[in-house]
Structures are given as C-alpha cells and as structure tokens.
C-alpha cells in the first residue's frame, strides 16, 4: 500500500513539475507598455530628392527605437492640406511605406510634405519632409469618370435655373490637375444642371452594388447645397435610357459649406429607386453592368429659395473599397 502511494505521489510530482511552467512569458511584452523610448536611428526616407508617384515610386521610412511601440506617421501637404496617416507597432519602421495616397484631398505635384513620427504614451516626436515630383495615378483603382482635364470624358447639362455650370482652370485651386467644375443655381428648384458621364453597358465590371463606390471631391460655401448622384440603367439593352421603361437610381448628399475640399464616398447600395417624372420601378434591383449613364447634379438639401452650388473635381468609381 505504501509503495503504491509513493508511486502515485512521485507520478503526480513529475506530471505537475513538467506541466506548470511555460516556456513563453504570459501577458503582453512589458517593454511595449513601460519601456523607455530611446531613438536609436533618426527618422528618414528613401527619397531625399523627391518622389514621383506617377511612375509608381514608393516612399520607405527609416527609424529605429529602443522598444516595441505603437507609432503614427502623419504626412501633411504644405499647400494642399492633404494628409495621410500610417499606424504601426514595431521597434522600427520596416512595415511603413507610402504610395502617394491620401486620407482626404490629393497631394499635389511639386508639393513639400511634412512628415511627423509620434508614439502612443510617449512625448517623443520626430520630423522629416519630402517633395512630391509626380502625383499618383489613382484611375487604376476603378473607373475614372473625370478629373475635368479632358472634356471628352463628360458633358454638361444645364437648366433654366443654373446661373453657372462650367469647367474652369486654376492649378492652385483645382484639387487634381488644372481644371475643376464650378456650379451655381439660383431659385427654389432641386435641380440646377448636371455633369453627365455616358458609357456602354458592362463598363462597370463589378456586379455587386455593395462593392462599388462613387468618390468625388466637393467644395461649397452656399448653405443648403447638395449634389445628387443619379445612375441610369439600360434594362432593355437598346443602348439608351428610356424613361418609363428602364430604371434609374439616385441619392442626394448634403455638402459641408466651409469652403474646404471634402471627399465624399458612397456605395451604390445606398442608391434608391428614382420614380420621379416618368421614371418607373421595374424590378427594384440595381444591376451595375446595365448602367450606361451617371449624372452628378447640382441640387439643394431642401426647397428653399436661394443660391446653391459647389466646386467639384475628380470623380472616380472604385471597387471593393472607397478611395
């Protein structure tokens, strides 16, 4: 009996001695929370003479710090005000790169950008700068409707209520390139002209409206201004939109009126059937491959009598995610 008990105790001892201890530590790495942050290599990038995003250049960042840290790289264009934020967690910047994209408006050609590296829970801030020699071509992200540089990409449809609906050239003001759209409507109507984009069916290659995004940049200082995006289907396949036969879908978007450029991105799934005028409901299902026309209208949020309008630039359809 004693032998059996001794054997049992010994077996349990071996079992527990081998099972209690772990090879790895438990909890998060303590240096990630309480390590003192020392900069071992200052912030720099691989494009000291400038980056040309138009030919596919990529900016790589370099810095090394003493502890694993949550870092943040802020890139801000000095003239455009465009910005791009990179977040990461590492003890260096090996994971950080920039392809020229922005979180809001576009960075401009020949623009100096300030780069700031900061860390969560630490006061340390490092600075650098970079010159943009060429803007990134974003049109390959989907279907570029227009940047108003090429008049063949769009047509203007005016109304009796619009005071102005035209394209102007000013590289200092345009968000992208030299040209931008300027609209102004006066009165109480809801429609003050439109920029129209016509193309063949099956031009939009994505079939799920959830994965299709309209992206456009707008700048307004008229209170109550809005734009309406309206897409037209060719349900019967005759090459044109027939009111009363084919379906149209629309969405009104109210604009900020702070005289600043703002990016607006919306999914096609948010568009609702348009049954105004002679437009009808056929099946209520938006089929992107049937879309042959998109109108971006100058509108107002209500029905007040006043002035409504905006500047606009760079209309792009992207797939899977907004710009």
């Amino acid at each position: 009996m004693i032998k059996i008990l001794k054997f049992t105790v010994l077996s349990f001892s071996i079992l527990f001695l081998s099972s209690c201890e772990k090879d790895e530590f438990v909890g998060p790495p303590i240096e990630s929370i309480y390590g003192s942050l020392d900069i071992l290599e200052p912030l720099s990038n691989n494009k000291p003479v400038g980056v040309d995003f138009s030919i596919g250049d990529t900016v790589l960042f370099f810095a090394e710090f003493s502890v694993l840290s949550d870092y943040q790289i802020d890139i801000v264009g000095r003239s455009s005000g465009a910005s791009f934020l990179i977040n990461g967690s590492n003890s260096n910047l090996n994971d950080a790169y920039w392809l020229g994209n922005s979180d809001n408006v576009f960075f401009k050609q020949y623009e100096w950008c300030d780069i700031t590296l900061s860390f969560n829970n630490h006061n340390t801030v490092l600075n650098d700068s970079i010159l943009i020699l060429g803007e990134r071509d974003l049109s390959n992200l989907g279907l570029l409707l227009t940047s108003f540089e090429d008049p063949s990409e769009y047509s203007i449809v005016t109304s009796s209520n619009n005071d102005e609906f035209g394209v102007y050239s000013n590289s200092n003001f345009a968000l992208h390139g030299n040209n931008y759209l300027s609209t102004l409507g006066i009165g109480s109507a809801a429609w003050f002209g439109a920029a129209r984009f016509s193309f063949n069916s099956n031009t939009i290659t994505e079939t799920d409206p959830n994965n299709i995004f309209f992206n456009g940049f707008f700048n307004s200082d008229y209170l109550g201004s809005a734009f309406v995006i309206k897409v037209f289907e060719d349900e019967n396949g005759n090459g044109s939109y027939d009111s009363g036969i084919d379906e149209a879908y629309a969405l009104k978007v109210n604009l900020n009126t702070d005289s600043q450029w703002h990016k607006h991105s919306l999914t096609f799934n948010d568009l609702i059937i348009d049954q105004s005028g002679n437009n009808i409901l056929v099946d209520g299902i938006l089929k992107p491959q049937n879309i042959i026309r998109i109108d971006i209208t100058n509108s107002q949020s209500g029905s007040a009598n006043g002035q409504f309008g905006y500047f606009a630039d760079y209309f792009l359809i992207t797939y899977n995610e907004p710009l």
């Binding site: 008990l5 105790v9 349990f12 001892s13 527990f16 001695l17 099972s19 209690c20 201890e21 772990k22 790895e24 530590f25 438990v26 909890g27 998060p28 790495p29 303590i30 240096e31 929370i33 309480y34 390590g35 003192s36 942050l37 020392d38 003493s66 502890v67």
Partner: protein, 564 residues
Amino acid sequence: MRLIFLFIAVITTFSIHAQFPKFEIGGLARSFSQSSHLDEEDTINNDISQDFNIVFDLAIKGSLNKYVSLYSELRMGSNLEVFDTSSSYLNLRRLLIFGDLNKYFSFEIGDVDLKMTPFTLWNSNQEGNINESVLFSNYRNIQNYENFNNENYWRRQGATLFGNKSFSKKDSLNYKIFGTRELASNEISIPDVFIYGGDITFFSEYFSLGINHIDLFTNNKGISLDTNLHNHVVSSKSAFKFRNIELSSELGISKRTNYSSISDSKWTDGEFMSFDFKTNLSKNILFTLNYRSVSDDFSSPGAQTKRINYSLAPNLFPLVANSSTNREVIASDIITDISFFRSASFYNRKIDYSLDEFNPIFGVSEPYGIATPNRRGITSMIEYSDSSKVVYIQGKVSFLNDLTGEGVLDKRKYSSYSLVSNIFINKILDFKKTILINGGFHYSNAQRKHSPEIFVQNVDFDNSILDLGLDFEIFKDFHLLYGYKEIKSKGLDYLSVRDNNFTISSFDKFETDMNHTINSIGLKYDFTKRSSLLLNYQYVKCNYEMSNLSFIINQFFILAQIKF
C-alpha cells in the same frame, strides 16, 4: 419587533413541553465609541469623526427534537445618533438549522461556515499583522466577528451534508458536500451564482487520502445572457505520519470557462502542487518545510478571494490633504475602522470570478496566500516554545519565484523573512501579574532584473511590517497596553491586470515609498474573564514620499464588552 415576538413565542411554546426542545442562551454586549481627528493641516476636510455604537447579540441554540436543532443570533443595536429609536435596529445575524439525519449523516441549513483546503476554499487572514499587540488583535477580532470571518471559514448561505463512517478503531471516512447561493439573479441580466463542492477523506493511523472538488458557476436560465461561467477546482490531498515526521501533499487543477451554447468555449486550465514536511526536532522545537508550485492560470475563487475589498474607500476620512486625495485602505482601517452596518464596510464577503485587487504596500510575494498564482518555491518555519511557556519564538523564511515570466522571460524572485516572539517577563521575574512583551518583524522583497535592451526599469520592491506589544498588569485585572505597528513599502513593481478569461492583459506600474505607523496606548480593566472595559488612544501617521502626501489621525476609543 416581529422577530422578538417570534423568538419569545417559539421559546415559550417549546418550553412547556418536556424533554424537547432544550434551549441554551448566550450572547454578547458591546459598546464601541470612537472619536477621530484629522491633523490640523487638513482644514477643508471634515476633520472630526465621532461614532458611538452599542450592540447586543442574543444567541439561542435550541434542540427542537432528536434530529433537528436551531441556532440563531439576534442583533439589537443603536448608533445613538438621536434620542428617539429611529437609529435603532434589529437584525437576524445568523440563522442555522442543523442536526443528524442518522448515524452517518449530519446536516446544516442556513448560514453555514465552510472551509476546505488553502487551494480550494479558504478565507485567508487580512494582511498587516505579524504577532501584533493585544490592543490591535482585540479590534481585529471584533472586525472578524462583525464580518463573519471565523478563522479561515467562509460564512455562506446554503446547505451542507457531512458525516463520517468508522471502519475500525483507526480507520474512518469523512465526507462533506455543500451548496451555496452567492448571488441572486435579477431575472434580466444578472444570473444566479452558486457554489457547490465536496470532499471525501480516508483517515488511517499512518496516512490519510482525500479528494476535494468545488465549482463556482452561474445558472442563467430565465435571463437573456447566453453564457455560463464555471470555475472548477479539483485536488487530491494525502498525508503520512511516521514517528514524529509528518508528510502531506495537495495536488490539483483548476478549470475555468465562459461556456456558451453558441460558440466554442475556451477553458483555462491551471495546476498546483504543494508538499509539506513537518517534524519535531526536539520536544520544544517544531520544524516545517513547504514546497509549492502554482501555475499562472490557477484560478480558485474560493481560496483567492480576499477578505478586504481594496477597491473601496475607508469609511473614516476617505479624503485627505484638504479633500484633494482619495486615500487607500491602510492597516489602521483594517483594524479599527469598524462598521456595524454591513453595506458600509470595505470588508468583503463576495466570492466571484475575478481575481480581487490587493494593496501592494502589504507585500507582493503572496497576496492571495499560498494559492497565489504563478509562484514556485519553498517556505520553512521553525517554532520554539519552552516548557514553562515563558518564551515563544517563531522564524519563517520563504524563497519563491514566478513560475512563468510576466511580460518578460525573466522571473521575479521573492524572498521573505519573519521573526515572531512572545516573552512573559513576569514568569522570568517570578511575578504573578502579567508582563508580556510580544512582537514580530516581517520583511519581503521582490526583484527582477531586466535586460538593458528592453529599456524597462527593474523590479525591486521592499516591504516590512513591524509589530510590538506590551501587556503590563499594573493591578489585578487592570492592564496597561501598548501597541506599535509600522508598515514600510518602497520600490517598483509591475502588477498584472487580468481580463475576464483570467489572462494577463496588461500591467500596472506600481511605485511607492510610504511609511505607515500606529502608536496605541490603552488601559483595560477585566471585570470578569468575559467582560472588560478599554480606554484607548491611538496615533496614526501615514506618509507617501512620492506623492508628497502625509496625514495624521488621532483617535480615542472606549470599548466595553460583556460575553455570556
């Protein structure tokens, strides 16, 4: 009032019968008056706190018949705030029905006291005591009584069935099962929480062998919550006796989960083992040695729940430094901040899933007793007591380390040393009247050195507790009492923060340099062995160097007690 009539009716009704029922009555009367003053620099605070409480606990034990008995404690009390009866109250402190079902089974229903082993169900003592003065232990006993802390038992509401069966003169089997309700459901979002458990142990002349099991769990039927929590602890314990050597062990596992009917449940498993060696080196010297290993994920709410809820504020002067700083619960609060109203106390009675907060100023090596997760090492103790009980000395050392690194591969090393002594000077000088000097000193240290590459400050945390006491009987039954307590804490440690799955999710950096002293002097007169009057002045000083916080509390107590 209805309770009084009920008791009188029960007693009267049963008293007119013959053999049963039989009643015994006991009780306790206590009046406690305290007047506390914050030091003069705290001008914005309400710097005077006065309180006077009188309580009378009437205990009735009645044998209702051959099988069923009843025990109850009825409390009548008043805090003497006003002269009418609006501040008086009448409570039922305890109600217990108990008895024998047959020769092998007994039962208890109601407010039951439960204890298993230090790894399964164990109410560990509050910190800050290393053989303290009679003055302090007097109040600590009152705190324990008021908060239902009877030795290491947890007072729960439920039922237990227990008994033993003898196989021979030397062999017997002890067994116990119990179930308690820890929390009542609100029938919307909070589920019922229960504990059930049991143990069975075979005792022989030379050895014993047993198994324990306890589970804290929720029953969420009837509410919208779709998860079910369980925390099992299973252990086996064994002991061998051979001449004057005693070997014992306890090995076990914990299994804890957020069980969900709609998702895969994740079980967190923890383990522990503990071995004890005990022997009498001579007639007067007892030596014990313990080796234990507790994994970082060993979760045992019944053993790891703390007696003090350190997340609450003390009742006495919770704000200091001109109402600018919330102060923490310190040793003088644990001893003398006695609340006769349960809702106001920082003493804890809940057993729940989360690992309770602890106050590092009392040390970081074993905040949850020997069931502290993530510790491995040895503890050894040697006790000496001379035959005539003049001198008692106890020395204890402990060398532990983290079983698994926390946030870093390096492990903390914990060392602690204690020395405790009682010396009856009167016996040395051959005086009849008591002259007792008692005291103790405890020092503990936690260290962990980090690699320079991670740029993290090393762990280096010291804690010491010094207790000194004097009991000098000036005249017959008239005692001059003195108590001194000093708690020092200095250094830096990173305290683990655990999430709902008992996983360490972060660390709190704790850095302190504090000093807390209590000087207490009192006069006590024992009217009888069970009744006394104590007048006591106490000077409490607390100083936190790092936050430039310092406060002084002067206290005056009058305590009268009668037990019958």
